[in-house]
Symmetry: C2
Subunit: 419 residues, 2 copies
Amino acid sequence: MNLDEQLAYLTKGAEETIRVEELRSKLERSARTGKPLRVKAGFDPTAPDIHLGHTVLIRKLKHFQDLGHTVIFLIGDFTGMIGDPSGRTATRPPMTPEEVAANAETYKAQVFKILDPEKTVVDFNSRWLDKLSSRDWIALASKYTVARMLERDDFAKRVKEHQPLAMHELIYPLAMGYDSVALEADVELGGTDQKFNLLVGRTLQQEYGQEPQVIMTMPLLEGLDGKQKMSKSLGNYVGITEPPEIMFGKLMSISDELMWRYYLLLTDMTPGQIEEVKHSKLPLEAKKEFAQRIVSDFHGGEEAKWARGHFESSARLRQQKGALTEDEILHENEPVVLHNAFNRKLPPLLVELGLFTSNSEAQRKIKEGAVYMAVPDTGDKRRWQRLDDPTWKFDAATYQGKKVIFRFGHRLVEAELTD
Amino acid sequence: MNLDEQLAYLTKGAEETIRVEELRSKLERSARTGKPLRVKAGFDPTAPDIHLGHTVLIRKLKHFQDLGHTVIFLIGDFTGMIGDPSGRTATRPPMTPEEVAANAETYKAQVFKILDPEKTVVDFNSRWLDKLSSRDWIALASKYTVARMLERDDFAKRVKEHQPLAMHELIYPLAMGYDSVALEADVELGGTDQKFNLLVGRTLQQEYGQEPQVIMTMPLLEGLDGKQKMSKSLGNYVGITEPPEIMFGKLMSISDELMWRYYLLLTDMTPGQIEEVKHSKLPLEAKKEFAQRIVSDFHGGEEAKWARGHFESSARLRQQKGALTEDEILHENEPVVLHNAFNRKLPPLLVELGLFTSNSEAQRKIKEGAVYMAVPDTGDKRRWQRLDDPTWKFDAATYQGKKVIFRFGHRLVEAELTD
């Protein structure tokens, strides 16, 4: 990749990069000197059960790794090992070094499905924060003004609403920012909600005579519902240790719109490659390929292939058994474009749509009153109406371009009616 | 002393005691258990050249010592040894341990003129503050809210005026407050300007599970001008290492009003004893006794006696030689109350006032035009008018109760005219 391609690849999906020019010059210098960039991201030591939402950031780390840079997976154990220092609540007992180490192993087992273990430095910020002397802390605190710290959104809100804000909470962002100084980071990645903290690191590096890090914020991934951010507590998540078939099934349930966003944030494909898929594949096929790709990331290619097969056959099976809801059936089948829809009677149309194998069968079932249709875009409710006249024809003025769902028993087909 | 007398003695001259009831119960418990109270005051390590202003606090420590309690003279070397941690100015280079130790020796040499070296603990807060771990600092900071810290007058002012306030400045009061925790102080003394910091100590002790200290603020001593606070830079000070005669002279220059305040704040006399002096001595005499007492505190009784003699003889000498200004002369002589002032001619009045030895001499000098009078309260300017009629009498309606200054050559007498 040339420099422009590298920049496009690295900034793909990022919410904000401060600043792109600085990243460019760091990449240039790295290429010139052969010295890889040091790319850091911090992780909470208490939550090592990673879902796809977390992988957005980890995958961005991988992109830097793909280009030969050094990734530092930093576990913020300093705060975790302190717990609630005010001693007012028992909700956050301090973690022991053993717990931190155990969590780190769990983390590794999970993130090394994306990151290359050989090219990843796993570090702990207690390594330097625990060693800061009283003098170091005072010096650190002297590098930042109170006013600036209180600009942080959540602090400002709490001050405004007269909610208590303890002094140590103001110190934590300094400690986290100091991580970048200790690591001499060139780039720091974080969620959009981390922007303030990342900027503190940038400022502190300058105060300590270092070149400021580039900061890159990654969006918070929407959950399967496409609305709220992915989180365990909301249930709209895909855990990276979930079984292949569960993962595949969950991913098949997302909307097409969300699928393209997931393509952007959850794969290593370049923006160009994603565009190509968009133009060459039907959404259902693109979604299956996406799901297979993600399952493959965490379970390998064979498992992913099996998961896809499992999904497809079980979908068929369930459809045959009538075990699917109307929505499930429609969701798993592409609408068909039905040409020459207004000159023909119903039976040949229904045969073309695969609902019957012959015109006579279609005609008989229509007469029996067993065939229904619904026009979904007349409202949220799907109002079924019986098709009891085999000679009836669709009127072009009313139905041109409309999608109509036909139903016989448990079988449903959606068709777009055109000339 | 009984408990009430002890309380009166200890709170004498104090601006504020929070709270007197707590001090009473601490004193009671101390008397019961035989365990002396731990009474702490903190001192800046950079300014060991003590003047009388500083002694207000030191003397208050002595009062506790007089009653058998343990005084902790705490040198706040922690901040001094850090200097300006932001590194932005070169104005406050960090002090070396040697400098701190040297300053401590100078301090001791000075304060042990008031405090009993045997009963005084000299300590340095770097002893514990330097040893605080990262975890300790976070825990310390967690004990106090940002909002509360920003209530401190000077912080509030700077925030309001958008002047920079660095984070470490918010931490210093916590560090100073922690001193009380480390020392398990029962009482902390400070200037009125230290009230906020003393209260932080009180709060932190409770947070760390200790009984809160009683805090006692001492007023800032006015300088010799009676207006601004005593300070070296204003020149209105009496240094405790100044020579006896300089000290004595400076103290004789203060106003009567200020003298009584100095009596209260700079001596060990009880309020009752001071009242007694007020009623039994003329102000000039009271002032000489006061000056002698203070000089004696720092140079011993013999030197003080000598200084007083030196002052009196040199005052006479200078007065005789006309070397004094009108103000100096008037200042060093009490106004005389002149009875029966309105029925008599000028010569006997002037003889009674000691300006002449005989009526005939007075009459001659008046005729020669060598005698003047001025009524000071007609304005700031002292307008002299010649008294050239020996037969003139004061008019009671105009002069009743007035103070009039009479002058012959360099000799001046101030008299209050009454029936």
